[in-house]
């Protein structure tokens, strides 16, 4: 990793850290008693999650009729939330895989948390396809397993089946990638721990000793997994978009969907990373690891992907007009000016217009603006999925069947519950694993910091400590 870095580049880790300080800073949240704010957040998250699980139970026990879907609108909150969560997951994979391949070293500050977010988001997402079915007790029909019914295989033409494969692959690879990164860090925690904790972390770290061979294999595996994950970043949301793109419903039947969905996914994923990072760095005092540089870089990604999404929206409108096809034209006319116009405007405002604020450097580097923008973007991206699903179905081919949809308390409860689940998992994660990858951040400590000659540069080099074992 000894790459020459321009001396005018700001260091990736601020505060002139030593390797030991890094270890201390990043391990401490897993070693100390939880703070009051963590406890409060955890209680709230668990309560919300429990309510969500109650609503899921209610759905399964009472029947899908407890949702307000109807003969015309067969999907509503369920698939909207599914696509939303899957989209959020994308940032983690992008940061850990694509940015790794592109040698974007700033990624090390956020990749661990982003990957965790990916996994938790996919868990939240996977709930929806599971519970939206009418007969959850036969959901195993989805899987191609040898059976005595013929054998009867699933329908390999169905995008919903592709989803099953895409998402399960995505989840497994993401989990592996995340865990691989955690192995040396778990070893670091183990080395500092005693008793039962030591045993647990020892087995979690697979007996990592930090030998050169370990590192070499670890590096190779990371690269291989990055290589595997990279196509997944593009494929998963492409396949999710096929759920709609391969249909015949005007407003769904659109070839632009794959790139548009991927851009949207990265967009919303980065927004969620921002939301989490802005809070995490504050609460866990990691401002020197997750720096304003990180925030700014991610805001740039948000600006770019938001604009791509905006172009996609406009392309859709243009193509609808250009197609000369009445159903398509009406579908988009109706999106903008029909009964659900407010969701279309929510989407346009939050996704396309508001990110343009990030052309201004001051706002890119403002924590306050970033936090609110990240929330905006997540709202906007939720609206995007709602617009695509509910608005489209509500006004399709036969006017006799047009309908209107608004969720019941059960549907809202499940959605809110998955947010509770997400934060519960994330909060547990901050307590059991280093939120920033210790081993990886140590790799780039010198690369970006030592030569820096710009503002606030510290010229008293800590070269004396540079030979320390990087996992102290």
């Amino acid at each position: 990793m000894s790459v020459v870095v321009s001396p005018v580049r700001r260091p990736l880790v601020e505060g002139h850290k030593t390797y030991h300080q890094i270890t201390e800073d990043l391990c401490s949240p897993t070693e100390k008693s939880p703070s009051r704010s963590w406890v409060i957040a955890f209680i709230i998250s668990v309560a919300v999650m429990s309510y969500g699980f109650f609503c899921i139970f209610w759905t399964i026990w009472m029947g899908t009729g407890s949702w307000n879907l109807n003969r015309t609108i067969g999907w509503g909150y369920d698939i909207t939330n599914f696509v939303w969560w899957i989209g959020i997951g994308h940032a983690g994979t992008l940061i850990s895989a694509i940015l790794m391949l592109f040698r974007q070293r700033w990624r090390t500050g956020v990749n661990r948390a982003a990957e965790a977010m990916t996994i938790f988001a996919v868990i939240c997402a996977a709930i929806f396809p599971l519970i939206h079915v009418g007969r959850i007790w036969v959901v195993y029909y989805f899987f191609p397993y040898p059976n005595t019914r013929g054998p009867l295989w699933p329908n390999f033409n169905s995008p919903l089946l592709w989803d099953v494969f895409a998402i399960s692959t995505y989840f497994s690879v993401s989990l592996l990638f995340w865990y691989t990164g955690l192995v040396p860090d778990f070893a670091t925690i183990r080395n500092r721990a005693t008793g039962l904790r030591k045993k647990i972390y020892n087995s979690l770290s697979f007996g990592w000793t930090g030998s050169a061979k370990h590192w070499q294999r670890w590096e190779s595996l990371s690269l291989v997994l990055a290589g595997l994950s990279t196509p997944l970043v593009l494929s998963v949301h492409t396949i999710v978009s096929f759920d709609f793109a391969t249909s015949v419903i005007p407003g769904w039947h659109t070839t632009i969907f794959p790139p548009y969905f991927v851009a949207g996914a990265i967009f919303s994923g980065f927004a969620m990373v921002q939301t989490l990072m802005v809070i995490t760095r504050k609460v866990l005092h990691l401002e020197e690891y997750i720096t304003l540089e990180h925030v700014e870089s991610m805001n740039k990604v948000i600006l770019v992907t938001g604009t791509i999404v905006g172009v996609a929206y406009l392309t859709e409108l243009f193509i609808a007009w250009y197609s000369g096809y009445v159903y398509e034209q009406f579908a988009f006319f109706n999106r903008a000016m029909g009964i659900y116009w407010w969701s279309y405007f929510g989407m346009m405002t939050c996704n396309v217009i508001s990110p343009q604020i990030f052309w201004v450097k001051k706002f890119r580097r403002s924590i306050f603006v970033t936090f609110f923008m990240s929330i905006f973007v997540n709202i906007g991206m939720w609206f995007e999925r709602f617009v695509i699903i509910a608005t489209t179905l509500a006004r399709d081919y036969l006017p006799s069947s047009w309908s209107y949809y608004k969720p019941t308390w059960v549907e809202i409860g499940i959605y809110v519950g998955t947010i509770g689940l997400f934060f519960t998992l994330y909060l547990i994660f901050t307590r059991v694993a280093p939120v920033v990858a210790i081993a990886e951040i140590k790799h780039i400590l010198k690369a970006g910091g030592d030569q820096y000659i710009g503002e606030h540069a510290n010229h008293s080099h800590h070269s004396s400590q540079s030979s320390h074992n990087i996992h102290h």
Binding site: M62, G134, N157, L393, L398, P399, S401, W402
Partner: protein
């Protein structure tokens, strides 16, 4: 019973935990101790050895294993001796007749293992051909109505005391022979044998009189016919011979007299032969949009109180052209005048080939209608009395006299036969009060309804499916009723009761089939003796018999001046209300039939309730606006009729005349059983009586403004109602599609007049005026060619080769023949075990109908035309639902059927989303009580005991050939695949190829007008193949390239725009 605490039960005794039942079933298989066998004293006589021990052991283990198994359905008991005519799994059909007051239809009853499960039309009937009505289709469900009175009883104060028939008989015989006036009250009665029984009864008990009334009265018409033609009867109408039809408010396709018969005749002249296009012209004069009005070419709007003036005006216009005496006619709105003048011209041009009818219950108006028909020389042509109809016989004066006599206390006994005057007679409350003055009130009603609960003796009549009987529908045209099941309860048909009380010499009460013998005797003496080559067996087999009748010499006399003095004078009131009979509810007697309750009103598309139709107009800019501040359908308003105020839901009805509102009668039953009680609002008690005739409108009314609250669970199956309703945009003076402008959300209305063309350019509905038909056909051809060209550009070869051999099923629907009567939708529910879901679920658009009839308004906003489009699974050859199903639960058969494997369905609803026709239905709850999973079972209308479909009695109506679907699966039209399979098997057994008559779908056989044709598209000689060559055909959404196999014909109307000027 090890399963007692589980969620399954076998019988209601089991459910209620009846101790004796549980004990008896747990003792069903007593474990037999080996010792007890071995210690039997006879055991010593047997060579007992190891092998015997093992045998006994084996038996014991086997028995124990069996005992631990779940007990199968208790009632599946094989026949010990199989009845000759029952083959398990094979349906039997018996000819019978659905009759309920004046509603009648000759039918075939399909029975399976002795259970009637479906009604079909009787193709031998000279009147109804093979057609049926929704009411006839639904009548089989009322057989299994668990609210029926199960035993004869007497009312002891407030409580019922069950009695045996013998006790009741001796009690009543004593009462009847005690002298005094006896009255028998019924609705229209068409049974010659029952009338004979009544005359025997009257002969025995002096002072007996039979009074008939109809809830929706046609008494004035009957009296006018008596005056003019010396016939107190409804003439036989021939809508098929009429070039011009003018109907004054008579809903002859929906409810008036004999809609099944008229619809068939009417449709004959509405179907279009593209080469030689001609059709009748139909003008409807009314204020609200009736089913008939919605089918009319032109509607002339007059207020209800102007009907008389309109009839008089038309009379004068015709008289002046034909040289008859004119009368003074009251004022009429100018628009109607101008239109009626033109109508008169086209009527006189079609002398002898026109028909003018009216539903008015005003003697003067009916006399004028008769005079118009006489002047037009229609009598003997399009209407005649040779085959006069018996379908209405009620007499308003007799009924009024009866009420007076009862109030005076001069009636000692009243026998009410299948009538509910306490509810459906305008003076119902007075009638109920007067009933208390009748010493001996006897009621045969099958439900403890408003009237039965006021009577002292309840002698429940059989359902018609449990009865013997006969009907003389038209003079010389008889139809027989034969039972298809033993009486389910301890009920007795009224004929038997009357004859028992009479102690008639012609009647052997001890015979096993007493009424059968009486009926057969009566027939052989009075009917069969007059028929050529007809035996009783043949008559019973055919169900119908036609005797020749003498042509009646036409005699006509009419005093039009006197008539003119009787007609209703326009009131000049600002708002008037008209009351009408609903297509599904009749006079209210069908309220407890959930199939009919959930049958959408053909015009409003609402279910479970009656709604006030209020006018809607375009504001000339962007919005449709309604009177009374009503924004959304279902909003509640206060309706003040005289001193009474009702809170009713509203429906913004296109075609409703300004200054008028309409609402259906037959709702608001207070004692109709579980499904019918408390649904909608009753207005019978508001109907005024003029000159002794009940009137069906009121002028002294006020409608308050809407508060914006929508009726709880207001259920309308259609959310959007129009396809291109045009209006003038005030600012530009241009004609625009008003409905497309109104589709834009209010926030954008200042910016845009909507996407003009967004509805009209859809290839959902094709319509044309008869005058422009050749151009329309050419245009259609071009559009279809373009769509097919685009569709041919595909990467995939498709599977058409699969369908070229064998069968390829297809459907053809003639939109010109479809009147929207909805018989097919009820037939589909009955055939395919489609559940009723109740008002709340329908309000959430959770209805389960496999076949729906989409109703669209189009054309001018003030007097739009209407098209009814039956919509079911289109069985697309390139079905979008199939490739998206992740588990292959829906797939295509080699015969072109889009199939559902319910057991495989996981319920992702992806297929439903991807269906362009939105015909797939999802089981949101356990609507059919299929899972025995109580929490999912679903109440349809506040059932207290158990859900409607969990009742074993109700479940007897289920078609055993069709799977009952469980919660969480998708279902949809299967093209009646069970019928296809049956037809194929029959053809195979006979070693012949399948013909059209082997397979007919339920919707097809129910249709009175022959609008639906099902068949094999590969059968070159089939009826369907011929119909598929019609150049008017189109495929809905052809350009989507899903390759539907359902062809619709273009809707053609014979509208005369000059009438609108």
């Amino acid at each position: 019973m090890k399963n007692f605490h589980k969620n399954s039960w076998i019988d209601d005794k089991d459910l209620s935990g009846d101790i004796s039942f549980i004990e008896s079933s747990s003792n069903e298989l007593q474990p037999i101790a080996v010792e007890s066998i071995l210690e039997d004293e006879r055991a010593g006589l047997i060579e007992s050895n190891r092998r015997d021990f093992l045998k006994i052991l084996g038996f014991g283990v086997g028995a124990a294993t069996l005992a631990s198994c779940e007990i199968p359905i208790k009632k599946a008991i094989p026949y010990t001796i199989r009845p000759d005519d029952i083959v398990p799994g094979v349906a039997n059909y018996y000819a019978s007749t659905f009759v309920d007051g004046g509603d009648v239809c000759s039918v075939l009853v399909k029975t399976r293992e002795g259970r009637p499960i479906k009604i079909e039309g009787n193709s031998l009937s000279p009147i109804f051909k093979a057609g049926t009505s929704a009411r006839a289709q639904a009548s089989v469900l009322s057989l299994y109505d668990y609210n029926r009175i199960r035993k004869p009883a007497i009312m002891d104060g407030q409580s019922l005391m069950e009695k045996s028939w013998d006790e009741i008989d001796s009690l009543l015989k004593k009462e009847f022979s005690g002298g005094g006036q006896i009255r028998i009250l019924s609705r229209t009665m068409m049974s010659p044998s029952l009338k004979n029984a009544i005359s025997e009864f009257s002969a025995k008990y002096n002072g007996t009189k039979h009074v008939m009334y109809d809830p929706i009265s046609s008494a004035a018409m009957l009296d006018a016919n008596l005056k003019n033609f010396n016939q107190r009867a409804i003439p036989e109408y021939r809508f098929d011979l009429a070039d011009v039809i003018v109907s004054f408010n008579a809903d002859f396709l929906g409810t008036w007299i004999s809609p099944v018969e008229y619809a068939a005749q009417y449709a004959k002249r509405r179907k279009i032969d593209a080469k030689n296009a001609s059709m009748s012209k139909h003008i409807q004069v009314e204020c609200g949009m009736s089913l008939t009005g919605s089918n009319a070419d032109n509607r002339i709007l007059v207020k209800p109180s102007e009907q008389g003036a309109a009839i008089a005006f038309l009379y004068n216009a015709i008289a002046s052209q034909t040289g008859g005496a004119t009368i003074t006619s009251p004022a009429l709105n100018d628009k109607a005048k101008a239109a009626l003048t033109k109508v008169a011209t086209s009527l006189t041009a079609a002398k002898g080939k026109s028909l003018v009818i009216s539903s008015s219950n005003n003697l003067g108006e009916q006399i004028l209608i008769n005079s118009i028909n006489q002047a037009l020389q229609n009598v003997g042509q399009t209407l005649s009395f040779s085959r006069a109809s018996m379908q209405r016989q009620g007499n308003d004066q007799d009924m009024a006299q009866l009420l007076k006599d009862m109030q005076a206390g001069s009636i000692s006994s009243l026998i009410i036969i299948g009538a509910n005057p306490c509810y459906d007679y305008p003076m119902g409350a007075a009638f109920a009060e007067a009933l208390t003055k009748v010493k001996n009130s006897v009621c045969t009603n099958s439900i403890l309804d408003e009237t039965a609960s006021m009577c002292k003796v309840l002698v429940p009549d059989n359902h018609y499916l449990e009865s013997w009987g006969d009907v003389e529908i038209q003079r010389g045209r008889f139809s027989l009723i034969q039972p298809t099941i033993n009486p389910l309860f301890n009920t007795r048909q009224i004929g038997v009761s009357l004859l028992t009380w009479t102690e008639s010499a012609n009647f052997n009460a001890k015979a096993e089939q007493a009424y059968y013998e009486y009926l057969k005797n009566y027939w052989s003496q009075n009917i069969l003796s007059k028929a050529k080559n007809s035996s009783w067996d043949q008559a019973l087999h055919d169900g119908v018999i036609e005797l020749s009748v003498p042509e009646l010499a036409s005699s006509f006399s009419s005093n039009v001046t006197e008539a003119a003095s009787l007609i209703t004078k326009p009131s000049g009131a600002e708002t008037e209300i008209s009351f009408y009979e609903a297509v599904n509810m009749g006079g209210g007697q069908y309220a407890n039939n959930p199939w009919l309750m959930e049958m959408p009103d053909p015009v409003m598309r609402t279910v479970w309730g009656n709604y006030l139709a209020i006018p809607i107009r375009f504001d000339g800019d962007r919005r449709f606006i309604s009177a009374y501040n009503v924004k959304e359908n279902g909003e509640l308003v206060d309706l003040s009729l005289g001193s009474n105020t009702y809170q009713v839901g509203t429906f913004k009805q296109f075609g409703q005349m300004e200054g008028t509102v309409s609402i259906a009668l037959g709702y608001g039953r207070s004692k109709a059983g579980v499904c019918g009680t408390g649904i909608g609002t009753d207005f019978y008690n508001q109907l005024p009586v003029k000159d002794g005739y009940t009137q069906y409108f009121l002028t002294d009314i006020k409608v308050g403004n809407s508060s914006g609250d929508i009726e709880k669970n207001f259920a309308c199956v259609q959310h959007h109602h129009t396809l291109g309703v045009t209006a003038i945009e005030t600012s530009t003076g241009n004609k625009i599609n008003a409905d497309e402008a109104a589709l834009v959300d209010d926030a954008f209305k200042p910016l845009t007049k909507g996407y003009q063309g967004s509805l009209t350019k859809r290839t959902v509905l094709r319509h044309a005026n008869l005058k422009e038909l050749p151009e329309a056909i050419k245009h259609l051809e071009e559009e279809r060619a373009e769509a097919q060209k685009l569709n041919s550009h595909t990467l995939y070869p498709g599977h058409s080769y699969l369908y070229n051999s064998g069968h390829h099923w297809g459907l053809h629907i003639d939109l010109n023949a479809c009147t929207g009567c909805a018989a097919c939708t009820v037939a589909c529910m009955a055939e395919n075990n489609v559940p009723v879901v109740g008002k709340r679920e329908v309000s959430r658009h959770h209805e389960m109908t496999w076949l729906r009839i989409d109703r669209y308004f189009y054309g001018d906003v003030e007097s739009p035309n209407v098209v009814y489009q039956p919509m079911m699974c289109q069985h697309c050859n390139n079905a979008p639902c199939e490739n998206v199903c992740p588990v292959n639960a829906t797939n295509h058969s080699s015969e072109g059927l889009n199939q559902m494997a319910y057991n495989r369905c996981v319920g992702t609803r992806y297929c439903a989303n991807n269906c362009p026709y939105k015909v797939r239905r999802f089981n949101w709850y356990d609507f059919m009580a299929a899972d025995l999973f109580p929490v999912n079972q679903h109440n349809i209308n506040k059932e207290t005991d158990k859900p409607f479909y969990a009742e074993n009695l109700v479940r007897m109506v289920l078609n055993p050939d069709v799977t009952v679907r469980s919660r969480g699966v998708i279902e949809k039209c299967s093209f009646c695949v069970q019928r296809i399979q049956e037809g194929k098997l029959n053809a195979k057994k006979d070693e012949r190829s399948l013909t059209d008559s082997d397979v007919k779908t339920a919707c097809q056989t129910a249709c009175p007008t022959g609008a639906i044709t099902f068949g094999d598209m590969n059968n070159e000689s089939g009826v369907l193949t011929g119909k598929l060559k019609n150049p008017l055909n189109y495929i809905v959404l052809e350009e989507v390239n899903v390759q539907s196999v359902v062809n619709y014909t273009m809707k053609v109307i014979n509208r005369d725009e000059s009438l609108d000027a």
